[in-house]
Assembly symmetry: C2
Homo-oligomer: 204 residues x 2
């Protein structure tokens, strides 16, 4: 019987994926604050402890949910960058994409940034562990650096500038997703205003 062990492993990974899928679903429906291991267990019709055979703990599970999100975002970033040769315009499009992305996945977004310290570990481990989230940030950093070099943005410490740009986007996303069902100004208008203002303010 060649590959019996492998079939076991395969089955295990499949079940793991099922749990993850159920978690993602439950998560999107109930929101971060209402998500619990016990509810997830009920949904997959297993005891709560079963989940712990496939994920170290709740944070570990959430981590993989978040990585899925980042993978999709990184894909979009790469596509934009390939289609748009002008770095300034690419930056503008990517910033827009970031906001659109955050706003359309509010629960995952909250999880990544607002679960007290833990999902992506300490900041130190974030910068060393190879995650898709980190790769996304690096791609963004490179683009900022490129924009400075080719004269689209004025000379500045590119780490600092990346942080500032990202923070501003992050702020808009955050304020939007935390004030859902509120008569807010039009989202794309705000995104335009923020991004264009920022780019103009930092133009070379």
């Amino acid at each position: 019987m060649v590959g019996l062990k492998e079939r076991r492993i395969q089955h295990k990974e499949q079940f793991r994926a099922e749990i993850l899928a159920a978690a993602r679903e439950l998560f999107s429906q109930e929101g971060y604050s209402q998500f619990s291991m016990r509810k997830l267990a009920a949904r997959i019709e297993h005891s709560p402890t079963t989940i712990y055979l496939y994920f170290r703990d709740k944070d570990d599970l959430l981590f993989y949910i978040c990585e899925e999100l980042y993978a999709a975002f990184l894909k979009a970033v790469v596509e934009i960058r390939q289609a748009e040769p002008d770095p300034g315009e690419a930056l503008r499009l990517i910033l827009h994409q970031y906001i659109r992305f955050g706003v359309s996945h509010p629960e995952q977004y909250k999880t990544v940034f607002f679960t007290s310290p833990v999902v992506y570990g300490s900041p130190d481990s974030f910068m060393t562990k190879d995650t898709i989230a980190l790769r996304s940030y690096r791609a963004f950093l490179d683009l900022i650096s490129e924009c400075i070099q080719c004269g689209v943005l004025q000379k500045n410490d590119c780490n600092m500038l990346a942080m500032v740009f990202w923070s501003a986007m992050h702020g808009l996303v955050t304020s939007i997703i935390f004030t859902r069902d509120f008569p807010m100004p039009d989202i794309t208008l705000m995104a335009d205003t923020l991004i264009d203002g920022l780019l103009k303010g930092h133009a070379a």
Copy 2:
């Protein structure tokens, strides 16, 4: 015995204030995620349920902690506005103040914005209920409006512009307080970069 009832009320309010003070202290020490009614009860050496005689629930208690914070911020805003006649410069100073304020009260800041929906109620109730938080926002809105009228900022919907400016500040504060103990770029430098860029980008 004139004022016996009043003395009772006074005593009650004093105890309430003591609970609030203990809560504030516990809160700053343990952080939002570690704060609990039971720990607070232990600290004031009463049973957990006693707190419910003075506060409707946990959110109600946190609400008053947050309001304290906003009161201090609003005071600073008013002072800046009175000392600085130029609205553009006043705006710049107030934006800086906002960041400084948020960064130096991270746990309260988190509470205000990131406790799932509740501390300040639904967005709708936020806009109707007279809170210090709302008054602060109104003061900020007025200043933006003034800046547009006197030509410091380019013409735009002032509600929208206020939201964008605030979101950007909010984002920087948030990214800083959620990445504590991280080798971040200098905070005031980032604040300068963000604020100056934004003001320049939206200058008339």
